[in-house]
């Protein structure tokens, strides 16, 4: 079974070394998708033995994860995990999101922070998360406590679907709906996470209003579409 860890990174030269070291015991290939960084992210990642794909310019987190998924699809990987390049995700938690997909019991697993055993998030993020939680429940019937988490595991079908349909900005919530509406099994498991090692979150308070509106619109419109076929293998 071929497994790939997709590590989206934008100007994470300071963090990427620690992230790759954290994934030392990961039994699969490491792929850093460098989203047009202006620092040494790509060079540092290469020197630590990771595969590196560099965008010619910045595409945003959605396009970055999707590039990784396209690569996984082209190279015939059976399973991919998304592991953020900023050091929030923990290598010792990877087995938790891998398990259900490995056993063929889920197609998309989300590592959630809010379930028992998780950690507390900021009030803005919590509020947004709750709204998304309700929207997802309403539109797909799924109960997802932490829909904005980027700690995920993708099965083969999900890799195929997302390599075709995956949005540019703020893709986390929308992708859950896309997967659920295509009949894929979306499951959430509790995981532990860290605070960021250095740098700032990509979602500022100013942007979060746009985030909410954009994602809400996308989800409502998506509900008006027919079911998205998963596509050719």
């Amino acid at each position: 079974m071929k497994i790939l860890a997709i590590i989206p990174a934008y100007n994470e030269a300071e963090n990427i070394r620690a992230v790759l070291e954290d994934l030392r015991s990961f039994r699969g290939d490491l792929l850093v998708v460098n989203d047009g960084s202006t620092d040494a992210t790509a060079a540092v990642a290469k020197s630590h033995g990771a595969h590196v794909i560099s965008h010619p310019f910045n595409l945003g987190i959605g396009g970055t994860v999707q590039t990784g998924l396209k690569y996984a699809h082209e190279q015939g990987y059976d399973l991919a995990i998304q592991f953020d390049g900023d050091g929030q995700h923990r290598g010792d938690q990877v087995f938790k999101i891998l398990d259900l997909v490995l056993r063929g019991e889920a197609d998309l697993v989300i590592g959630a922070r809010t379930l028992p055993g998780g950690y507390k998030m900021g009030i803005t993020r919590w509020f947004g998360s709750r709204i998304f939680h309700c929207l997802i429940k309403f539109l797909s019937g799924k109960t997802i406590e932490d829909p904005t988490s980027g700690f995920r595991c993708y099965g083969k079908k999900t890799i195929r679907l997302f390599s075709r349909f995956y949005t540019d900005d703020y893709p986390e919530v929308e992708s859950i709906i896309t997967a659920a509406r295509s009949g894929l099994r979306v499951v959430e498991v509790p995981v532990l996470m860290r605070g960021r090692l250095s740098g700032n979150s990509s979602i500022t308070r100013r942007k979060s209003a746009y985030y909410m509106l954009k994602v809400t619109l996308a989800m409502v419109v998506d509900a008006m579409r027919g079911r998205q076929p998963i596509g050719e293998s």
Partner: protein, 120 residues
């Protein structure tokens, strides 16, 4: 021909000529030019025949004919604006896909080179 009429006719013909010139210089695609040309033709028509404007306005219940001009103008600009947003969305989608394609191809080339560099 009164002064107002002369000025508006000159303007409409000017716009028409400008669009043709842009196409000739290859700075505007025919596809988009058609939209603008039809508008300026419509404007020319309405300028030349005040009667036409009046009949058209009254037939849809507008009692002050020049407001029809505004209505048509605003609606037209709205359509052009939406059309541009659609084009932009399509272009950013293809731009996005191209960037990913370039990145993936570059990776393939690098992998190929690395293989070639290794002594067999």
């Amino acid at each position: 021909m009164d002064w107002t009429k002369t000025v508006s006719l000159a303007l409409s013909v000017g716009i028409f000529a400008f669009v043709i010139w842009l196409v000739r210089e290859r700075r505007l695609r025919e596809k988009y030019a058609l939209l603008w040309l039809s508008t300026s033709l419509f404007l020319i028509l309405l300028t030349v025949s005040r009667r036409l404007l009046e009949v058209a306005a009254l037939s849809i219940g507008i009692y002050y004919p020049p407001s029809l001009l505004f209505l048509v103008g605003v609606l037209f600009l709205l359509l052009v604006g939406i059309g541009h947003s659609v084009t932009l969305s399509r272009l950013s989608e293809s731009n996005h896909n191209l960037a990913q394609e370039v990145a993936l191809l570059r990776k393939q080339i690098e992998d190929g080179k690395a293989k070639d560099d290794k002594p067999s």
